[in-house]
């Protein structure tokens, strides 16, 4: 007699299926399988009871209303003539992008303020403080810190996009909406850092940010869902300029320069907080 496997016993306990009748019949007849099933049942009952103690927090009675308040501003009515038809999704996405962009602009603005405050402070402090070397170092360090973080996040997003799995068969659309949104976020910051680097006369960083901007634009302007072929095209464009390699090299260089720039770290943190 062939005994039942663990898979069959678990499937019998957990899933509905046509074969269940035959398994039930076998369990009636076979003491060994019955004993195994009893053991399995006892163990799983205890395991599931333990798992059931992992409580889900109550989101509250007003939760649905809160969710609505959080998303309502991002929803565009489906009836407006300009939003109807095949472009409806894009219009909603554009609207969402607008709000995302506002959030991002706030963040990027804050980051930029950190940098700009130091740059603006340079002129003022030059008149008041005879020795400006530490202040200049501090400013450079802030710029390097911000750019280093930005390069790291960009590299991570592009690496993920390059590693996104293409489903076999190729017919299915691949969702890259999350990466697209991140590219949009990064793009806003990138422009600010590139301009700052140019003002600072840091051509190396400005150049790599310029190249990165083109790649980010490409991703940000892609559809949220792409075919395998389209994704491959994006990957090829990422690979063509060797941007990932450049990001790594310049990122390492930025990190090295950060370490080599002597500043009072307490001042750095205090100044960042003030901004």
């Amino acid at each position: 007699m062939t005994h039942l496997s663990e898979e069959e016993l678990i499937a019998f306990r957990e899933c509905e299926g046509r074969e269940n009748a035959a398994i039930a019949e076998h369990l009636q007849e076979c003491a060994q399988c019955r004993a195994e099933f009893t053991q399995l049942d006892t163990e799983l009952t205890a395991v599931f009871a333990a798992l059931d103690t992992l409580a889900v927090p109550d989101p509250g009675r007003e939760y649905g209303q809160r969710v609505w308040q959080q998303i309502a501003s991002q929803l565009q009515s489906k009836s407006q003539p300009s939003l109807q038809g095949a472009h409806g999704d894009e219009q909603v996405k554009w609207w969402r992008t607008f709000f995302v962009a506002r959030r991002v602009a706030a963040f990027a603005g804050l980051s930029a303020l950190v940098v700009m405050a130091f740059l603006a402070g340079r002129g003022v402090k030059d008149h008041r403080v005879p020795d400006t070397s530490n202040a200049a170092n501090l400013r450079e360090k802030v710029l390097l810190l911000a750019v280093g973080e930005h390069l790291g996040r960009s590299e991570m997003m592009l690496t993920e996009l390059s590693n996104t799995e293409t489903k076999k068969g190729g017919a299915k659309l691949i969702d890259i909406f999350a990466e697209q949104k991140r590219a949009e976020d990064l793009l806003t910051e990138n422009r600010l850092y590139r301009e700052t680097a140019l003002e600072q006369g840091d051509a190396r960083i400005a150049n790599v940010l310029d190249e990165l901007e083109r790649v980010l634009l490409d991703v940000a302007h892609s559809p949220g869902e792409v075919t395998g072929g389209q994704l491959q095209g994006i990957r090829e464009r990422i690979d063509a300029g060797g941007i990932l390699f450049k990001l790594r090299v310049v990122g390492a260089d930025v990190e090295e320069r950060q370490r080599a720039t002597p500043t009072d770290s307490a001042n750095l943190h205090n100044d960042r907080k003030k901004v």
Binding site: E7, Y63, K78, V92
Partner: protein, 212 residues
């Protein structure tokens, strides 16, 4: 012209029709009606409140964007559920890739050793230790769920906690019923292997603690 409002009692189908007809606020009925259940699923899938809330918001935004694709005879709750599960799968997969890249292998090993079931506090001890043990148990349970792939976790959550049918799980996972069944099996087997010795050890220790 009188303003048309949708009462919470109106069915999903009517709310969808109104939304597609241009009454954006009709979508509110769907959001308010289904948010809590989508949150429950999202929390089970992500394991934390912050991520779960983000999944809920994104699921309703995506559902709104794709509402034209929704088939009238289908169940909106199931549909948005599927969108949430898919987004959670995708999101967790990406997070895991990011985390794996950040963590050194040695750190992972150290973490794994620290979380090992062998490090549990013996049970027959006074309440502070007992409390610590409960915390440890919770940690182990979460760890066990984290050993599942995201597809396995989704299949298990949908089957065990949400009572979904195999066909529904198969649709969510973009697979067939046989593969979905297999995914449920793998999840249950992993959880059994991981947790059964631990649960039995704790039950034994508790019994001894009660006797003494």
């Amino acid at each position: 012209m009188t303003e048309r409002t949708v009462s919470p009692r109106e069915g999903d189908a009517e709310a969808i029709e109104l939304t597609l007809g241009g009454d954006r606020d009709a979508y509110r009925v769907l959001v308010e009606r289904h948010s809590a259940s989508v949150f429950r699923l999202a929390f089970r899938l992500t394991g934390n409140r912050h991520d779960a809330e983000e999944v809920v918001q994104e699921a309703f935004l995506r559902a709104y964007q794709k509402l034209e694709q929704f088939e009238a005879r289908a169940n909106f709750g199931t549909w948005v559920y599927r969108i949430a599960a898919n987004y959670a799968i995708d999101r967790t997969r990406k997070k895991r890739i990011e985390e794996a890249r950040r963590k050194e292998p040695s750190m992972r090993e150290a973490e794994s050793a620290e979380n090992s079931a062998m490090n549990l506090v013996p049970d027959k001890q006074p309440s502070p230790e007992r409390l610590a043990q409960n915390v440890e148990l919770r940690k182990q349970l979460e760890l066990a769920l984290n050993t599942l792939t995201q597809a396995e976790r989704t299949a298990f959550v949908m089957r065990h906690w949400e009572g979904c049918g195999i066909e529904e799980i198969a649709v969510t996972l973009n697979s067939n019923t046989s593969a979905a069944k297999n995914t449920v099996f793998r999840a249950v087997k992993k959880l059994r292997n991981f947790l059964a010795p631990l649960v039995s050890q704790m039950a034994g220790a508790r019994a001894m603690g009660t006797e003494s």
